[in-house]
Amino acid sequence: MKHRPSLAALVAAEWTRVRCRPVVGRLPLLLGAATGGSAALLFAGGIDLHAAQQLDAVSGTVAMALVVLSFGIGAATVQDTFTSGTAATDHALVGRRRAELVAQQVGAAAWLAVLGLAVQLGLATGFVLGHAAQRGAAISAGAWQHAVVLAMPRTVAAAALAGGLGASTVQLTRSAPAALGALATCLLVLDGLVATLAPAAVGLILPDHLFALGKGSTTGLAAADWSVTSSSVAAVLGVVAVAGVAALVEGARDLP
């Protein structure tokens, strides 16, 4: 006889679902690519690992790319549940729509945290290898710690939140292209427009806060006047709010 599944069991099932995504499922490949890519970049670009700003720039760029990638994976995962009929099959088995939606968000976020960890780990390993190839000597402890201890938790958190946001946005819109379009509009149009016309509303551009959290800096972002800490808090609160609204709205709708 079936038992009523706990939220943890639902999240575990969602974890498995995200693991099946083509990009996420090839995590070792991704890790290798990140390692090789960063080592090659370091070697060819002559990046000085002892100059903290240069190191920040590299890991910040990777974190921002990872935010976009995680958003896309989170969005595609939920879109898949609608188009493949798994959302309907799951609901017919579980019967707890809002819990299922929250589990989707958390499951996506959890796996994309692992993705962020793998990419940042690859980056750090790449730094070590690149530095060794460039200078013929081991990387300094300070630079290694900077890459691992500081950048990694930020990237992991940003990737997880972006994945949860992607999942939530598709739960709201029921369309991955619409969700990706909304992200692109935020980044390419609203970002500059709001910063110029209504600077007070800059705090509402959630992707900017995710970028700030990921790269550990607000430089170059619309939220340039914000501190990294306040921007990070805004990212967490914003994603939780969108996720909550998505669970409420989609939970009240008929399944496709």
Partner: protein, 307 residues
Amino acid sequence: MNGRSDRPAIAVSHLTKSHRRRGAVVHALQDVSFSVAAGEAVALVGPNGAGKSSLLRVLAGLSTPDHGSVEIAGHGLPQQAAQAVLGLGCLVDRPGLLGGLSGHANLEVIARRHGLGGRPVTTLLERCGLDRSAWGRPVSGYSLGMRQRLGLAVALLGSPSTLLLDEPTTGIDVAGTGWLRSVLEEHVAGGGSLLLASHHLEEVERVCGSTIVLAEGRVRSTGSLAAIRAATRLAHELHPTGAVEAAAAILRAAGWLVRAHPTHLELDLTPSEAGAVSLVLAAHGIGTTRLASSEALLSRLIATDER
């Protein structure tokens, strides 16, 4: 089994469901009422677009009724959906499976979520007749029939007391259809309930004792299929050995409503009346070279109330 046998397995009362399609309101279900007792197998038949899938989607908790009430083993939907689904096994629309996972892993994910462990997975895969070599292959490479078999295994997971199946033989070969029939017969013999939607009366006749005929979102008739068949007049084509007009006159005099054609007669007859017609003509020295129904029972059942 997980049923509460003192209550109907399914109880639907005055159910109405509409939805929008391309801006227009479609009345998928209108004032539908019926019940399925514990241990009863009921066929839900009707043409495409009759509302069968809409009804099963409401029963599976996938959509919410506009009006009316739905109870599964005494649990009202949608409020008590989490309790209702514990005793429910569904194959509605197509089976939703994770394409990147193997058939075995798909079932395992679901079984683990419900605290069932790994044992029922192997048993079910054997039971659903999926070739053992396919168990470990990704579901994305499965044929329609293989997916359908796996979908049935998902529906049977946890030995539900009530099964809701929507066109379960889609994509399944002849051998698979026989296998499915035996699985369903076993389920019902074990005290389980079944609501089986199909647009083929013959397909469901051997498994289901009762039938609900649905057309344009409304219940057209209910009851045992044998009784419905015995009581329903179908159009018959009669080719007499003698003059067609003479045969028509004899039958009209005997009270039959006859439509005469140049080569044959047409009458609406129940199976027992068909035998009587031959006897009446034989008494007047007229034989019949052919007396056969040219109309499907389902078409007539759907048309009856429209007249």
